[in-house]
Symmetry: C2
Subunit: 409 residues, 2 copies
């Protein structure tokens, strides 16, 4: 059961001029599932991506990097579920290349103008023949109104399709942003997310795109974790179709740049949070705020230690205010000169720990009340400096074990 | 159900001359449980300890460090379960000091000659009055033959008491080593274990003791993990009662030093492995060997990434050879210049991955056969150098969640 998350209505996902999407059932792994999605992008767009830092990154991630670097101009994306095409060596590269070539041939493009994405089981050969056989149907399905179908088409263990849109007036023009994401397990994005696609019709200087994509990832997908497992296939793609008619945005720091970034970050955060809310077995959505650090980096390190601790996560699942487990995680997070006597801990509005020990005014009933909620904020103050950072995660339940013990069966 | 582990027979745990142990039920947290243990050490012994690196270390860990540093000569240990006395601030220090003082008074010692150890729930006040009220009964119970009672007396979520003895002829004298340990969850020792006590009657130069304790921890308790949570109370204490009559051992590198180290390491490893075998919810005992690294440190880093991955651990629980998850963990372990194309992976004798991709000769049935075993060795070759390291862990089951969601109730 996802935490306070439901699928978007099809009409709530606004089309982006210059972006068409087609989805089909190619039988990649199982029959009767939407598992093949193509994006068709008009000429004149700008695209940038952020990809997994996993050294075992998948063949499609390699190809995305190569094709983007070739500056051939991206005109199509091809996304399959059911198979990650990771840990598949040279054969995996060949199969992924064949898929790009097949789509390029059908659309009159160069293969380097196609970006491939795969998600699913690792270390099994990509059934590229079945994917290529499905391309015609996917192309025939293409429409600007198919964002929800795409959100469904990229799901694996997700239980809910994830998509958001936002609109704002920027520089006198209506700017629209729509994004979709997928992911529920093997989630501890680092440089990217599982799969995320965010498009805007805004006109953006192509030189700005990579910085924009990286900044969006850093404040959204790169701050979530379900199980600490960084995937081999994490990819976030940001598309500007440059059709809104606004004066091209040249800097994130300009007024319009700030407005566009805020608009896109709103969508990116909702997509990232949706992944946590739909985290495998999740019953709670937890925000971990660490402040009073010497640097955002050390705050993040402490926040992830809390967010990854199986003991903390099972206590949240049990609604048990066994909050010493949070202190233990703070203590082993790796800050060598941390002074435990300066730590403060709040659970929502409840002041649990002061000066490293139990707050005399703390009542277990208050901790218990917050722990029963479906949305909880853990706030740790390190008492070392002015920096802070935030990470979002979920609890750790029986269903996580069930889902991951059964995933392939 | 622990993995291939049963409690030792009382007679199999050999007395160590100069060491007496008494155990009682003090009602620290629950009635009817052995929860208070004292060790009484004759004069002339040597003692060294290795303690948690958690910055939130417990009050008794602070006191152990201070008392050992005072060189007053350790003459007694006092160990309670049911309460960790961690995250308890100045009040926790006072309560732990009171317990040391009470035992010292009864034995005619200085408080600094007593080392305190606590294990159990974090962040609740130590019921020091109940512990002090139990000291007389514990002292009255003291006997050289009570090692098994002590192993039982220090258990928390352990399901099986853990103790081993070993004997060897060293320098013409019979040397005996006996040790006990406890721990099942919050296990990722770093500089120490949960609680471990290893005693020998060998004569050892006191200057050698700290190096000996550290070296033992590094090759045993510091290479196990259950859930990656480094405890606030981890402590390994090594005692030489100096009663065996051998010429004092001055160096680990001497012939006798090597022999004693091997004898003690045998006991330390069995104790460390017992903690993993009794890991919360464990159904499998997993040895992770990483070789071909540039340094033991990077091998250890990769081994821990595998050993901590919830996805890898749930796959072991399910006996599912979903081995791509191991590759993903190797990939995100943090070796920035890792060449994925050089990775080899074996599961026991089954060659699963070669040159970073699925071994063409690999049959899933072979992986399945190994995954069904209760003891499995994962062997990863990084293809980067001559170094190696080994880590021991267990799988991740429904029972882990059940145990940790219910721990305090």
């Amino acid at each position: 059961m996802p935490v306070n998350l439901s699928a978007p209505a099809a009409a709530s996902l606004l089309p982006i001029a210059g972006v068409q999407i087609g989805v089909t059932e190619a039988g990649v792994r199982k029959l009767g599932r939407k598992d093949l999605t193509v994006f068709l992008l008009d000429e004149g767009n700008s695209v940038a991506g952020v990809f997994t830092s996993n050294r075992f990154c998948a063949a499609p991630v390699h190809l995305c990097r190569t094709h983007l670097a070739s500056n051939a101009g991206v005109r199509a994306l091809v996304i399959n579920t059911g198979n990650a095409n990771a840990g598949t060596g040279a054969d995996g590269m060949l199969r992924s290349r064949n898929v790009c070539e097949a789509l390029a041939n059908r659309l009159g493009l160069q293969p380097t103008q196609v970006l491939p994405f795969s998600t699913g089981v690792i270390m099994e050969p990509l059934p590229s023949e079945r994917i290529m056989a499905g391309l015609d149907a996917a192309i025939a399905d293409a429409s600007g109104g198919h964002w929800l179908r795409a959100a469904e088409g990229i799901m694996t263990t997700d239980t809910v399709a994830k998509g958001y849109s936002a609109q704002a007036q920027i520089g006198g023009h209506t700017i629209t942003v729509t994004g979709i994401s997928k992911g529920a397990g093997m989630i501890r994005p680092n440089m990217a997310t599982m799969l995320g696609f965010i498009a805007t019709d805004a006109c953006v200087n192509p030189d700005l795109m990579q910085g924009l994509a990286t900044a969006l990832a850093e404040s959204s997908f790169n701050r979530i974790t379900v199980d600490g497992d960084t995937s081999t296939n994490d990819s976030l793609l940001v598309i500007a179709s440059n059709r809104a008619g606004n004066a091209p945005i040249d800097s994130i720091n300009s007024e319009e740049g700030q407005q566009l970034f805020a608009l896109m970050l709103g969508v990116a955060r909702q997509l990232a949070h949706a992944i946590v809310r739909d985290g495998e077995g999740a019953t709670k959505f937890i925000t971990v705020v660490v402040e009073g650090g010497k640097s955002p980096q050390e705050c993040r390190q402490v926040a992830y230690a809390i967010a990854h601790s199986p003991l903390v996560k099972t206590a949240f699942f049990a609604s048990d205010p066994n909050l010493g487990r949070i202190l233990a995680a703070v203590g082993y997070a790796g800050i060598a000169d941390l002074d435990a006597n300066r730590i403060e801990l709040h659970l929502d509005d409840v002041h649990v720990v002061t000066q490293g020990g139990r707050n005399p005014a703390y009542q277990e009933a208050d901790g218990q009340r917050v722990m029963r909620q479906s949305e909880i904020t853990v706030r740790v103050h390190l008492g070392r400096g002015p920096a802070m950072d935030t990470v979002w995660t979920c609890d750790f339940s029986h269903d996580y074990v069930t889902i991951n013990a059964d995933y392939r069966s």
